[in-house]
């Protein structure tokens, strides 16, 4: 290795690992974030606090209510006989949902008419509300099915045996228990590597400019390429190291299965980190101070994370924004991470994602290096 590059690299590594605090910065925040994300990020809904108002008080209505009480999705907190009380509980946030059965419920069922179950839902959290209403529907549907079957059994037991019936067999693949940690943990790895590499790279260059040490380096015989390599190679390695570190936390602590090959993940990580180095360098070329770098970096990292499909599926976004996601390298890296971790797929499936990251990284690095050289003049 040429002497000057080595000198530059040694300087950078010394700077990065100089004191306890900066060493902590490299590994502490990612691990903290991983732990918080792993435990806090869940969209599952269980034990929704529920109030019941039963004006019918018949066998049928009690049967329906007992199904709610037995379900893991609902927690019956109050049985009321006044609708206003329910409204009050919802206002104060003590229950999220109030189920009301009007009198005549059993009679309507018996006559073969529609029997109404009213659900008053606090939908200020639309996701929870949506899922909760889905569960109400499921329980109500099963109830009607049972009711119907029982009735046919009473009136024409022979018929029942001949009734055609389709049953849905659910087969969740890759994540059989629908564990949300399995979904979020591989995604967090992508997020963390993105934020780490972009900020570290951008800050490293801009700090030299802000403090004024950039001029000192420029008067040494270190060339531009050597400077660029010196400023990128350490963060490339740190990015890789962080990937390994966070992945270990994901596998060993959270028990997320790793079904694919390490080689495929490594290739994806290398390509993705190159993309992020390109972005970080680019930000450093347009920033004079660290504050500028931080704010500009945020303008990249935030949309990159939101539109990557990290939390909610891309197919639910408005169409214009779906197109926009193709420009997001994190989108491809998440495919690789989740593909390797949960699906156990290889390059034969993931090559388009790899190619996309390769192209993005190449273009971004070229633009940044050209701009960077100009900014040094």
């Amino acid at each position: 290795m040429p002497v000057r590059i080595r000198a530059m690299l040694i300087k950078e590594f010394i700077q990065v690992f100089r004191d306890k605090r900066s060493r902590f910065l490299l590994f502490g925040p990612p691990v903290i974030q991983m732990l918080v994300f792993g435990y806090a990020a869940t969209l599952e809904i269980r034990h929704v606090p529920t109030a019941i108002i039963d004006f019918d008080n018949s066998q049928a209505s009690r049967d329906l209510i007992s199904r709610f009480a037995a379900s893991p999705y609902f927690d019956v907190r109050a049985r009321l006989n006044d609708r206003r009380q329910a409204g009050d509980l919802i206002d104060r946030g003590e229950v999220i949902i109030a189920l009301q059965i009007n009198s005549g419920f059993a009679q309507n069922l018996y006559k073969g008419q529609l029997a109404h179950l009213q659900a008053i839902v606090d939908s200020s959290n639309s996701n929870s509300a949506l899922i909760a209403v889905g569960y109400v529907n499921q329980i109500a549907n099963r109830f009607s099915e049972n009711y119907k079957t029982e009735r046919v059994q009473r009136t024409a037991p022979l018929m029942l045996a001949q009734l055609p019936r389709v049953v849905l067999e659910r087969r969740p693949w890759y994540n059989t228990d629908l564990d949300s940690q399995w979904f979020f943990v591989p995604g967090v790895i992508g997020n963390l590597v993105l934020v780490m590499v972009v900020t570290l790279t951008a800050f490293a260059v801009v700090r030299e400019r802000e403090i004024g040490t950039l001029e000192q380096i420029m008067v040494t015989p270190i060339g531009r390429w050597e400077f660029i390599l010196g400023k990128t190679v350490p963060f490339f390695l740190i990015g890789l190291l962080d990937t390994v570190f966070i992945s270990l936390v994901g596998t060993l602590w959270f028990g997320v299965p790793f079904r694919g090959s390490i080689g495929v993940l490594a290739l994806g990580a290398v390509l993705f980190i190159l993309c992020m180095l390109g972005i970080g360098l680019f930000i450093s070329t347009i920033s004079a101070t660290q504050q500028q770098a931080m704010v500009s970096g945020f303008f990249f990292t935030m949309p990159a994370i939101v539109f990557s499909g990290f939390g909610t599926p891309i197919s639910s976004m408005p169409e214009v924004f779906q197109w926009f996601t193709y420009l997001d390298p994190l989108r491809y890296f998440l495919d690789v991470l989740r593909g390797v971790y949960l699906k156990g797929i290889g390059l034969d499936v993931l090559w388009p994602q790899m190619a996309a990251m390769g192209v993005f990284g190449f273009v971004m690095l070229t633009i940044s290096v050209v701009r960077f050289q100009k900014s040094l003049d």
């Binding site: 903290i32 918080v36 994300f37 869940t42 104060r92 069922l109 008419q113 529609l114 179950l117 009213q118 659900a119 839902v121 939908s123 639309s126 996701n127 899922i131 209403v133 529907n137 549907n141 009711y147 046919v152 024409a156 018929m159 001949q162 009734l163 055609p164 019936r165 389709v166 049953v167 849905l168 659910r170 087969r171 969740p172 693949w173 994540n175 629908l178 949300s180 979904f183 900020t199 800050f203 802000e210 403090i211 004079a288 101070t289 504050q291 500028q292 931080m294 704010v295 945020f298 939390g311 909610t312 599926p313 639910s316 976004m317 924004f321 495919d335 593909g339 949960l342 797929i345 499936v349």
Partner: protein, 377 residues
Amino acid sequence: MRWHRLNAIARKEVIQIRRDIRSLLLIVAMPLLLMVAFGYGVSFDIKHIPVFVYDREGSQQSQDLLKHFQASEYFRVVQSVTSYSEVVEALDAGWCRVAVVIPSDFSEKLKTAEPVGVQALVDATDNNTANVSVGYSEAVIQSYNRKLQLEWLQSHGQITLQPAVSVDARTWFNEDLESTANIVPGVVAIVMAVIGSFLTSLTIAREWERGTMEQLVSTPVTPLEVMIGKLVPYFVIGLFDTALCAGIGIWWFHVPFRGQWSVFVFSSTLFLTVVLSLGYLISVVAKSQLAASQAALIATFLPAFLLSGFIYPIDQMPAVIQLITHLIPARYFMTISRDVFLKGTSIDLIFDELLALAIFAFLLTFLATRAFHKKLS
């Protein structure tokens, strides 16, 4: 505390902010970015789930069932395949989230009244979407069953009555179950947390790093004067951004504002004080701007995003994490913001939250001035 010294510090900070026009513009544009990213990028209304179908029978009846899937707005039948390996490939590559497989003896079994299993193979890497997809598939199958059985019963001259429970869901506060109505009041809180942490976390760290702190210390200003003087300009920017956020939410995303403006302004001011003093505290303690920005990210932005109930419901988190959320100021403001926007809650119902914020504001101011004292000596 002397007014003219405070004024001088504030003016110095304003000049420094004004000198860096780009950062200022970006900061002012931050609400726009976050509103667009979260408003369009985070959608829980899961629709148009891409579906592959594998009809092993190809009879009229099996096609009839598939039509039920096609007719649902929740599914988008992308392709019909003719082999199982194509199904596996599609799920592996992520071309579809659900694959419906109809057995080759579908109509046969329907005739003999054996229950027929229709498989829904679901890509469960994203457990939430998988869960919702299964629910929707179940609903499609049930509506098909209803039709099938009704026809069968009618053709056998049996009961044509269809007793059923219909669920009338009344969603309060967010009648259309729009994600944006839920997200937008939350983004207001996020923006304030970001402004508070990102901007102020650097103000003191920058002075240390550039060596201008000694100059400041040699003047007769007191720590409290430094703090207030440095925070006032950011406070103004923060308030402006809050107003911008609320404006975009109300006029662009059509989120209702049902509460009182005075309550909103008062609680925003309180929350802004909390996040600014937290950012300031970090800035005083941290040695470098890089450390300060990382710490700010972890101490304010991340909890505001993850632990405040913004996207992930708090009552679904593990008990320990739920306890921790009580230490997160953003949690209280998140509740206030949503209540004021969507529920139109009056001040007495959010008294506890306001009190919590006031305690935080007092404590953090105290800690920050003390830390500053310590650092000087």
